[in-house]
Symmetry: C2
Subunit: 293 residues, 2 copies
Amino acid sequence: MSTFSKVVICGVGLIGGSCARALRRAGAVKTLTGLGRSAASLERARALGVIDEAATDWAQALDGADLVLLAAPVGATDALVTELAQHLPPHTVVTDAGSTKSDVAAVFAARLSPEQRARVVPAHPIAGAEKSGVEAASASLFDGRRVVLTPLPESSPEAIERVTRAFALCGAHVSSMSPKAHDETFAAVSHLPHLLAFALVDEFASRANASELFRYAGSGFRDFTRIASSHPEMWRDIALANRGNLLEELDRYSAALSRLRSLLEAQDATALEALFQHAKDARSAWLDTLAAG
Amino acid sequence: MSTFSKVVICGVGLIGGSCARALRRAGAVKTLTGLGRSAASLERARALGVIDEAATDWAQALDGADLVLLAAPVGATDALVTELAQHLPPHTVVTDAGSTKSDVAAVFAARLSPEQRARVVPAHPIAGAEKSGVEAASASLFDGRRVVLTPLPESSPEAIERVTRAFALCGAHVSSMSPKAHDETFAAVSHLPHLLAFALVDEFASRANASELFRYAGSGFRDFTRIASSHPEMWRDIALANRGNLLEELDRYSAALSRLRSLLEAQDATALEALFQHAKDARSAWLDTLAAG
């Protein structure tokens, strides 16, 4: 007997498709329904065995659904939630996969009734990948990765339990924090580094001697800038959605760089070495906690 | 018949030891002599088969040497070159493995005669590794990597040819530039990213909620900060030695960050996406050139 009789994936790309594949791997769902604007890409997802059926009609798709995962680009969230408000059956639980959470919480607050919001539990699956599209979807994308739930004030314990169970069945470690704490934390550990990497590569690429510079860039540069190969439109939306926190993080980092610059200008060998050592030790301790699982 | 009858490695750590192992793999040298201050670590290098004999006496070590590689920490360069000046035989060629080159060129200019400098060809093997010590030395460390020669004004064609041959036998791609161009280029593509990574990890680790932040740091953060696990003392020396160029790079990068901050504050979605796309495209083109070899 499957845990879920029907799960609806709204936006069957890398994240939605991987979630579908992982739930299927777990034998956790009877019917996987894909919902989306493009009939052609839904048909591709069906042909690949990612979903069982394609739907373009909300009422039909949601009929009998235990769970809906909104996994379309965040720019579409408002339109999707507006549709959802008109068609959400009384026993269907909703989650999403957006990288920022305060903005998503605001959309749910604006578009859904308090009764509907009781069945909504926003989530952020931390599974970055440079790839995109349903072809890249993998049943193991979430294995051992974190999924952070950011419940709304109205989210019911039953809804939280159902969403937790779904992501746990996908192989993820599930934890919770408030949308505000989520956006502050990820502004620092994820959004800031992405902006720093994009800024560096853009700046180098804008120079007259760019090809000469890139010729001598090595493996350190390659890893440092890996995240500058991330999806430009997605990161534009994340940066704008988390603008306030990200501006603060940019200011903190600029101040830190400024202090480092002063140490270098003053040739303060002791302080420079101490700063480098502090960073190395902190990173090493962090890697130890990762290895310890 | 070996290409070299005797090669002297001064400082048998990761770089010196890997060079020794690579020359041995190539069957290119009859005798590998290690020179260094610590008899115990030279003995370890000999026991590991990295060198054939350990020397602590310069005159004895250099007697009959075709090539000397200075691979001790850069802080020792001045003292080593002072010794070298007193003992350099007339047919021995000298190279080094320092990550900055203008400072090294200045030491050679100060300590050696013009005739001696004709036989000196400074080099920078681009083979970063978080490991250090002779135990980590590997015959394949330089395979497919770049070695940049920065000849002195006096370096003779014969000396350049000999050093080129040695690094090519180690498996590296050898090219040349001036010490000034080298230090400008590497300030941008290597030294700046190291400082940016060290600064970020140091700043996070200094916060009250550091452990909470690190808990949510993912694979993007891990790769972005890999170079913050580099050797603190070595990077202190590199930063100080290349201070002028690095201060300029920090200023350029701070200005770029400032522009990015303005776009974000103004919510300029079009310009943000264009910047991210420009970076992604440039990195993608660079990866293509790497793949093409």
